[in-house]
Symmetry: D2
Subunit: 441 residues, 4 copies
Amino acid sequence: MPEFFPEVKKPIKYEGPKSKNPLAFKHYNPKQKILGKTMEQHFRFAVCYWHTFKGTGADPFGSATMVRPYAASSDPLALAEATMEAAFEFMSKLGVKFWTFHDRDIAPEGENLTETNKNLDHMIKIAAKKQKETGISLLWGTANLFSHPRYMAGASTNPNPAVFAHAAAQVKKAMEVTKELGGEGYTFWGGREGYDTLLNTDLAREADQLGKFLNLAVDYKKAIRFKGQFYIEPKPKEPTKHQYDFDAQSCHAFLQKYGLMDHFKMNIEANHATLAGHSFHHDLAYASANGILGSVDANRGDRLLGWDTDQFPMDFQECALAMYYIIKMGGFKTGGLNFDAKVRRQSYEPVDLFYAHIGSMDAFAVGLKVAAKLLKDKFFEKLLKQRYGGWDKALGKDILSGKMSFKDLEAYTMKNGEPKTQSGRQELTELLLNEYLTTIS
Amino acid sequence: MPEFFPEVKKPIKYEGPKSKNPLAFKHYNPKQKILGKTMEQHFRFAVCYWHTFKGTGADPFGSATMVRPYAASSDPLALAEATMEAAFEFMSKLGVKFWTFHDRDIAPEGENLTETNKNLDHMIKIAAKKQKETGISLLWGTANLFSHPRYMAGASTNPNPAVFAHAAAQVKKAMEVTKELGGEGYTFWGGREGYDTLLNTDLAREADQLGKFLNLAVDYKKAIRFKGQFYIEPKPKEPTKHQYDFDAQSCHAFLQKYGLMDHFKMNIEANHATLAGHSFHHDLAYASANGILGSVDANRGDRLLGWDTDQFPMDFQECALAMYYIIKMGGFKTGGLNFDAKVRRQSYEPVDLFYAHIGSMDAFAVGLKVAAKLLKDKFFEKLLKQRYGGWDKALGKDILSGKMSFKDLEAYTMKNGEPKTQSGRQELTELLLNEYLTTIS
Amino acid sequence: MPEFFPEVKKPIKYEGPKSKNPLAFKHYNPKQKILGKTMEQHFRFAVCYWHTFKGTGADPFGSATMVRPYAASSDPLALAEATMEAAFEFMSKLGVKFWTFHDRDIAPEGENLTETNKNLDHMIKIAAKKQKETGISLLWGTANLFSHPRYMAGASTNPNPAVFAHAAAQVKKAMEVTKELGGEGYTFWGGREGYDTLLNTDLAREADQLGKFLNLAVDYKKAIRFKGQFYIEPKPKEPTKHQYDFDAQSCHAFLQKYGLMDHFKMNIEANHATLAGHSFHHDLAYASANGILGSVDANRGDRLLGWDTDQFPMDFQECALAMYYIIKMGGFKTGGLNFDAKVRRQSYEPVDLFYAHIGSMDAFAVGLKVAAKLLKDKFFEKLLKQRYGGWDKALGKDILSGKMSFKDLEAYTMKNGEPKTQSGRQELTELLLNEYLTTIS
Amino acid sequence: MPEFFPEVKKPIKYEGPKSKNPLAFKHYNPKQKILGKTMEQHFRFAVCYWHTFKGTGADPFGSATMVRPYAASSDPLALAEATMEAAFEFMSKLGVKFWTFHDRDIAPEGENLTETNKNLDHMIKIAAKKQKETGISLLWGTANLFSHPRYMAGASTNPNPAVFAHAAAQVKKAMEVTKELGGEGYTFWGGREGYDTLLNTDLAREADQLGKFLNLAVDYKKAIRFKGQFYIEPKPKEPTKHQYDFDAQSCHAFLQKYGLMDHFKMNIEANHATLAGHSFHHDLAYASANGILGSVDANRGDRLLGWDTDQFPMDFQECALAMYYIIKMGGFKTGGLNFDAKVRRQSYEPVDLFYAHIGSMDAFAVGLKVAAKLLKDKFFEKLLKQRYGGWDKALGKDILSGKMSFKDLEAYTMKNGEPKTQSGRQELTELLLNEYLTTIS
């Protein structure tokens, strides 16, 4: 079997903060225990197939740049096979235990759906074998319902019900193969579920179509006894002008309206949250507060750019806050940190894929160390307890339990006069947080 | 009684498109019937008290500029009385039949809530008298829960329950006086219901507080038999970094979660929608599609600026699309078009207030004419009917009625092959829409 | 010769505002005289080769959608030839008298530069023949220095001087063929002249490289006696994070620093101006005020999206302001309105190309009518004359002529006291402008 | 003399990273030498008078919140005197050696300019005395030409030349008192030098006015032999829609056009750079590359908000990059790091002012440590040397020296074929930079 990443001879190792080897972990030590779990268990890192193995470096103004030795064959299936080999070689060398894919990433489309499914079955068998050999598992699978021209006006939200049908057929198969590979989840990203112009769009109708689609998916999940978790992945725009799954709260509205709250959690992506005008940890906090945080697409946008740059997450402060919320909600159950990130167009060498993942895994490891210290010290708990303390006393409890009406509250105010204020202490909090961020052990 | 707007001797009149008088309407002809209603009935224009009569022209970098002859007295109550006189004089001359206010716009705060309420009662009596004299009605009332320092960390979402109590007392009173004045609605804009930094914020707790507050308001509404409509007004940010009522869809999530869907509609503001990353008509369309469009704050932002500029709406294309959605949903019931807009800091003369309102009323009148033509021609209906036609045939109906499972849809796709696509015709639609916009009768 | 656009049998005609034919002009009447010139002479409309004939509809999330009957051949040169046929058929039927192209749009790259140049020469001969047959001229030519991987880190600003050399060779040839075709200008758009991360970039060095490159181009222009106008096209970002030619004013800094002011004008693109945080007419006004407005890339962005959407310009208010500035500066000399715009991905049929161009040409025709009326009425002149009148009187003249020092100005102020202010009248101006925009003859 | 900040009894001390005292420096050790200079000499920290002592916490939606014990008097001059006392007490306790002010921050406006100047002279005498007592120096002075209504349409760019005259008189005096206090610089921030709408603006005329104004300032500087450095402070928007001093490069265009390059340097503000769509270190790099980096307004914006939040700089990664560029250009000469930052509206207690400054000074100290290590290791130098190495060899030198024409470069390319590319290594660079940021000694 050919070796596609000869630049990296052996699996990447933890060498500690003093190592000068860029192909080693300085902070990510998979078996190191923190707060009762190993780092590996905390993160459940996944490599994504699309960017990492299928990304070409093309952008709207330029063609492919990536040098990928496994992408030599002009025969689609042979190419798919070599890519699968390369993928498992890369993941093994990197030491990541999960992967994620779209149906069309791993197997080429054929002349028709029957042939396409046959291609997929062929590749799934290989994937199953590679999983067994390497001990790498499927975090979640998904179907690509946005690249093919048939989906240009949406998949389930398409003006043509035959496209809805095609999407259903494709998701059905993708769920089946996800189950076959033991996938722990299945993700719905509505890549074209939105509009390019509201002038030609019936928003109400399209929402109903999407609601029906996901309900049918839930039905089929039961039918085949797939036990994995369903995720919705919010994104506000791009490729369309407006995506219906705008952000976590918008998805929350949708899930409630269509009776789907028991069946879906969120797959929050950092860059999508910032495109929506939020911070990454805002969307984590919102989803967590509403019991719908399931998994995370770990990447980073450029806040000065208005498109999805999908950069590798290297900002350890953001990673610290993300890990804080993830641990607070009890850690990942079925989800994990999926690197839905792509190397820059100029980082075209295979070894850049290693640098990118290593850098991000280390950034998260630093983040985890910080988060663990914050948790041990009850840093935020204490701060919030002091700030919101009144809600745990008589007045607060009576309000929330429904004992006090507007009339009672007016009487209280008339009697007690002007409420006391307290400083928000934002700068002090930032100062104290920096003390954690500048002392990484 | 003094005249505060002597520049305008008589009520503004409709003089038709050929008039060269800037103090006349060219398109807004209140009694002209369009689609079975007068223009006046369609729009239900309201003047807002805060910007129009209390706005000073101050901004974060400069002090007050507005010349307001009625704002001469240094005695707070005398000032309030003169302002009320001026307000009704202005509205009468402008020919607008509705107004809107916050409690603190019309009456000064006193030493304590009792005194403040007394001031408010005093002014409400005057307002009731002026309403009677002029035939001007209250579109909606509201309470200012964001300007006073006590609310700096939120009103109902404050870390201190005593502030929640104070806000409750204030809303209680504001609802009472709104009812007293025959207000057709009551609006909740959560001006500080959000956070400046997530680092010191318990998002989950604050959402519960807000949910409880609005439920208590519903209870009190029933208790006093106030029949007006409750509105929530979405805004994504400013003054806080993140406002919980981010946009229409976010509010929809909130209303569903806290059991409030039967009790609230949306008051959609154009500039808030664009700050949230949407177009004005998107938020109208979303609210309308979900049966929660109630009223509109008519203004405009500058899409190149990141703050709430609250400019007067002069873009008649936007007005046309807005009126289209409003008429499509059956027109306003209790709501209307409230000019929550402020003259620019340099437009400091009283007469600028007339120019601004006249220009906007004419822009909406142009928009209404365009919308009426679009509706008569069934412009969008035809376009959508052709585009979504498949959903009204067998396959579409069977999908939506639940007759077809994923398995059935796969079988359908296997049998029928690749679905047909159709051009989205965005450019043609824009071209045709321009034909309407360039032929205003 | 095959007909590639059989949907349109005959050249598009002017049929006037009442026509219901979407394949006719309602406002653009090429021979109609306005302000002493025909519409055709005012606009000098050009069709761009890249989007209109080579655009595929692919985007970062999806593959090609465009149906282009001329794009059938798998042989690159045969494909180029058929495309050229189609292009001139389209432009002839549309009735546009200018075109624009990049070297690589019209001829395929070969094995090496020699072969590539040979391909280009072959296609240039065909283009020259088609120009002669149709009477269509070249507005400007340019070289594509951004799509090929060799340019991924910039062309003249590349860290490798051999790439600078390659770019020089390519521009040399592109200038030669532009001259050969009688091109009236040559455009430099620095598609990758910028950086993806400042961390690996020497900004000072790269600016010097770019300065040298353009000076060498000026030298070569003289050497071959090419009389066309050189243009720089500003863009703030995309594909890179930061483009050195950020906006008109940034380019102005650059031209001054590198001694290029006599040799370059600006090619202002609407969508690039808005991405830079300006309005389209701001960048026109700035360039015009500094004598460097040369040509215009006519398109439109979506102000709620952060990337270059290159939509067809349909907003006739924007067109009116653009035409106002263009006529004010004396109209186009060598430049024109180049439709650097692409049909939406869903508008995949050939006929959509007609709708898009017709709609935009009509929008500009409406804009021209409005601009002409504004000019005839001296609308803005009068407004500005009144507003800035003081500068044409003694004090203003003495200040600008240098007669008054700070000391004199202090003495003046001490003597004359508080200066008078006047209302900015923004709302009145908007109101009056709407009167023009709603009465299109 | 009253003590206004009794919460802080003694000057803030350096206690090292392990201290748990929030009112101590953990990293800022003023006398510690790094790269041959003390920290104090590197930073030249300044406290700004306007935000820190005059800021009230008011925002467009709410009134003042700040508790400022020195702001008790209703007599303007007494208030000014107490504020000055408080300011020097605060700066002494904080241990900052520089301050900055606008004329109107420190002394109230009188009935007319003569009286206003008298007030200013009175306060300048006190300030001079306090400077002497405390050893605190003036980094730069400036005039407030944006708050008073007379400036609502601009100062030097006002449509009324009498306002230009007033601004000139004000700047004249401000320069005189800056000189009197031994100020090392004088800053021009064009707070209203821009427009609210282009519709009523003559951009060309206003630029000439601004050019004349600054040339007159240069003349007056010579006349009074003021030796301080002149700075221009770029800002893209706010309060106006468009500010003429948009960013560093725009100011560069302006300075060149009006012959001012020898007389001005830039005062770069972090939040202004990000509002302009750049990173903070981009504008530092640009100004530095063009020899016009003079001083820095140290603060931070919120990249998800579209207005000037002026937050205290706490992001030590940004501080590290800023310090890197500052040291690379040889360090500050006359300039320094001026905290043009304001505590959040909820941080209303006096002690919050200490937390904010301490946190920022420590963030910069961390940044300096990182920058020093990067410099010692020649981290970026090595990276750039390798990346741009070709430009130091024959081909690169020959290009830049002008030895090679386009023809020669074509010949070179024909001979040498396709240029070599190298990976941009962005992810590796980020990874390596994180190693510096996570090991703060």
